[in-house]
Amino acid sequence: MEEVDKIVIHSLNVIGCDLDEDIQSLRQFSTELIVSSAIRCLKVINNEVDLPNSLPSGMSARFRTGTSLASIIQELGYKGEIGYQTFLYSNETEIRKVFMFLIDKLPKDKVETEEEPLGASALLQRTISASVARYLDSPWVPPYLKSKNITWRGKPPVWQKEGALSACKYHSLPCKFSHGMGDLTKKISKEVRSYYSESLPYITNQTIHHCDTAPSVMEDLASELTAQQEWENEWNTIGLPSRLSEQEYRARKRQRIQKRLKDNLRSDVQRSGDLTSSKSAMDLQQMIDAMGNRSSGSAKTKGSRFIHTEQLIYGKDEEKTLSQIQKPDIDKGHTEEELQKEREEDIENIKTEYNNLISKIDNLELESKKLTASMKQMEDQMSTLLQQNQDKEESYKVKKRTLDLLPDAENNITKIQSVVDSSAQRLVTLANQWEKHRAPLIEQYRELKDLNSKKESEAEKKLEEIKAFRSKMKEVADDARQKEELQKQLIAEYERMTKDVNRSAYTKRIMEIVSNIKKQKDGINQVLVDTRSVQKEINMLSGKLDRTFTVTDELIFRDAKKDESVKKAYRNLAALHENFEQLIQTVTQTGTIMREIRELEDQIEHESKSKVLTNLEKITSDYQQMKKENSTMATKFKQQKS
């Protein structure tokens, strides 16, 4: 029972009843404690229970609390007997039963969620909330007691930032590292080496302000790390299938980028050329138009006549208005009509002039086009003529030689014939030789080709393998990382869990109890077997007795007819038998009585446990109190009535 009590008390403590540490069993529970902890349990089970947290002082109120408590517990499904008396006049066993029922009913999902392994974000949030709570709990410290704005608290000391005195902005500068000094395979030029050893400042001395050192180093690290990852990614997806070595791939990429840069620059230069050409148009409107035309395509640059006239009219107008604004006093002498006329005339003049100019420009453009076309034609002609000229020169040369040979024709013909013959022969021998050389070469070529294709396929296979290995490597690394994280989490979880020793203790106790019960069961079985064997013996003995009695009875009865003294003996035997029977009966009676006595003793103990006497006293006193309350109420009522 002690174990049960311990569990009950522990779980009551968990749900927030503050029990004293020296309460070890339910026997020590006072009525108030019982009621308050039962109410607490009910409130945890069902939030809507509307009961006072502690026992009220008035007797009737107590009674009401007790009955409502009992009814709520019955509603929850408690099967045993329960009423107000269970709480107010407590009986240890009944209370234990009630509490066991209540604790069984306590919601468990909260516990289950705690047992799940938490994610990294939950852990992070927990640490954040813990440190914020620490900050909130810590008392205020005057600023002159802090060194900069840091205070050290707790044991082991943990720093806390209060204030912003020592904050410095995140400002990073590029750092210079010395690279590859440990790698002997890489060659570093003498100049770089001497720069590293002589002039390169130490990394903590590279920034202007010392506080920029850490940000600079960290940024450098992060950028290098991301670059590395990016490169690996690119190499895996694009670099490997391109089947170039790393240097080649890099070189090609550099070329590509340079080419793009060049193209961009070139197009920009062209564009800026366009801009300078339009710079001659100083008017803002024209400038904007020029820009608009450029963006909407070169087709519009010439512009329709309408646009030109519009520009002209508005431009002139603007100029006019400007001049009007600038020189209003000069224009004062003219009347409005004159001005109008003048203006119209001007416009007419300018229009005609403009039209002239436009037609002229058009003409000139046409002419220039024609001229360029004719120029091209001329160039073509010239090149064809040059070609012809060359051809003719060649033919002239040949003809001249043949003419030279003509005078000694026959001789020359034979000479030429011999030359032709010898050259034909040479050709044949050369062809033969070529054939000789060609056959093995072709064979070799074929072999090499085969080999090459084989190698290629092999390389492809290897590439595939490399790819597979790389992906596998990544997977394994990821897996390992994940597992490590999980392990860390679980370790943290485990460290948190160890506080709850009770759990393992409980399971241990339960195992012990189970083994105890097994032992007891064995003992009971043993006793049962013993009693059965004893009963058997008794039965056997009584049967034997019966049989021997009948045998002796018959023998003596037969003799008794003949002898008088034997008759006496027979009578004695009967008496003896009777007496013994009585004796046996009394023995069995004493046995049953003993059993009854034991049962009664048990009952007495049971009754004494339920504190009948004290409870009775309590009840009587409560009854008296109630009576008193009733009487005072009655008098009050009467007073109010009167």
């Binding site: 005057p142 600023p143 900069k148 704005n149 840091i150 000391p157 943990v158 720093w159 930032k161 209060e162 204030g163 912003a164 005195l165 020592s166 904050a167 410095c168 902005k169 995140y170 750092c175 590292f177 010395s178 690279h179 590859g180 000094m181 440990g182 790698d183 080496r193 590293y196 050893s197 002589e198 390169l200 400042p201 130490y202 990394i203 903590t204 001395n205 010392h210 506080c211 050192t213 850490a214 940000p215 180093v217 960290m218 450098d220 690290l221 290098e224 790390l225 590395q228 860390k488």
Partner: protein, 196 residues
């Protein structure tokens, strides 16, 4: 915690006894940590006689490698186990790992303070002075009889060594709003009073 190859190379250099002898390893690590923590000793490693005989270029690479490692470890609040795993990968001997871990644990909090101070913040209230005045009358009114609180908030501004002050006066009601954390209400009432 991931580190790039150049840092790992530097750390590996620091772990080799041929480059940095056992005798001066501990001194080297303390110098490294001091270099980033203490402004006055940012360049003391240069003139340190202990390292006179060593190849300066290797020393520099090892120095920046170890520094980066320690900063990164403090940033991630790395456990000693993770750090020792990294060091083992860089072929450190057990003695050197122990020395480095011990120094790291001693100085970790200080490095974290250094990292925690990076950044900026609005002025931070650290202290307050106050005075209670009781207005009996003013130039316009014969009888005012109102308490007026003069509050001066002492704030720390990043980048300045002295405390700055923010002074204002407020009525009892406004002060109550202020203390309840209801700054909006406080400002509202003060605007109302100005409008009135």
């Amino acid at each position: 915690m991931e580190l790039c190859q150049s840092v790992l190379d530097g750390v590996a250099l620091a772990g080799e006894a041929t480059h940095i002898p056992d005798v001066c390893f501990q001194h080297f690590i303390t110098k490294t940590i001091e270099g980033v923590l203490d402004k006055s000793s940012r360049n003391t490693i240069k003139d340190d006689k202990v390292f006179n005989k060593l190849d300066k270029s290797i020393l520099k690479e090892a120095y920046s490698g170890v520094l980066s490692l320690l900063l990164e470890a403090a940033k991630f609040d790395a456990e000693t186990a993770t750090l020792s795993a990294i060091l083992e990968e860089c072929k450190f001997t057990q003695d050197r790992i122990d020395i480095l871990l011990q120094l790291y644990q001693e100085k970790k909090l200080f490095i974290q303070i250094l990292l925690g101070n990076i950044g900026t913040s609005p002025p931070h209230i650290v202290d307050v002075d106050w005075r209670l005045d009781y207005y009996i009358k003013s130039n316009q009114l014969e009888k005012v009889n109102e308490p007026v609180y003069l509050i001066s908030l002492k704030t720390e501004v990043p980048g300045k060594t002295d405390l700055e002050e923010v002074q204002f006066s407020c009525s009892l009601e406004q002060l109550q709003f202020l203390l309840a954390g209801d700054l909006e209400q406080c400002l509202l009432t003060s605007f109302e009073s100005i409008g009135a």
